[in-house]
Symmetry: C2
Subunit: 203 residues, 2 copies
Amino acid sequence: MTSKQGATHGLLFVLSAPSGTGKDTVIRRLKEQGLPIHISVSVTTRAPRPGEINGVHYHFISREEYHHMLANNELLEHAEVHGNWYGVPRRPVREWLAAGEDVLLKIDVQGAATVRQKVPEAIFIFLAPQSIDELSRRLSARRSETQEDRARRLADAAYELEQQQWYDYRVVNRQGHLDEAVEKVKAIIIAEHCRVQPRHIEI
Amino acid sequence: MTSKQGATHGLLFVLSAPSGTGKDTVIRRLKEQGLPIHISVSVTTRAPRPGEINGVHYHFISREEYHHMLANNELLEHAEVHGNWYGVPRRPVREWLAAGEDVLLKIDVQGAATVRQKVPEAIFIFLAPQSIDELSRRLSARRSETQEDRARRLADAAYELEQQQWYDYRVVNRQGHLDEAVEKVKAIIIAEHCRVQPRHIEI
């Protein structure tokens, strides 16, 4: 009997949410509360939105760099969304997990589905908006996008919401109750570390 | 999509711990923090220890009353421990769950094993002492018991610790870190409500 509980390796969490559901805000709060978890920063070929910081929100790379990584099997998963390419660099995730540290992948449902096939023992969390109407309102408030972008995101969101059924956990980010959503995601991470049967995560 | 997450029925949690591990203290803290969960009070034929309140720690009943409940199938589970009989009244548990409210059963590993056979979808949490030495120290500080009682409890604890392997979750109640143990049990309860696949609990 030791004071270390459950897994001796780090755990891999996957957080997905339709655009505009507030996953970046939830993740920022988790980090502010000192939760010991690495946030995997994805690569993308899309242009940064105003306010997005390279290396924080994404690693913004060229299509050439992206295809180089892909060809060298350096991406844990990759997917095309809204005409742009996204991918999760494999090496840092593998190194953190091997060091016994948790990792959170912030990826869309397509990417999550791929990770699930490759790493079924990962823990999948879907952050859901309170309603489609609420999501529409949040997207309209995002001035960095065109009307067309917003309409496309909303259509995609409907598809993404259908996919939540295969996730392990669902957390609703209710309007005005951000702290509640953050607490729930945090609770899921803490609870998973209390599992008697450790998850064998290999990537 | 609604704001109600996961299960529409209440969830059934089972908390076990070797004597002296501090489960009553953990449960009291959970209630003090306003966690909306009913604590099922077991019946027992043993004599109350000093400080124990009838209807709070246990319903202290006679052997005649006990056998009457048993004969009428009014006990969800029952077991003999240290020469005394214990049981969980079925009706309040069933009614709370049907009303969509959570219930926590505070029972020993024998009783938990029975509940697991009858209600496999219940969630089993083992509260573990930091070490056998620490447990021995706590039991020695409990003045209400004889030396013989303590020795017997310690021997039983070794057996009980072996049983934790089949529990869903294990939380170590580290000396001086009660808040940590309380937070973990609370996290497990919150996380279980976020499961996408609801548990079908029938008792």
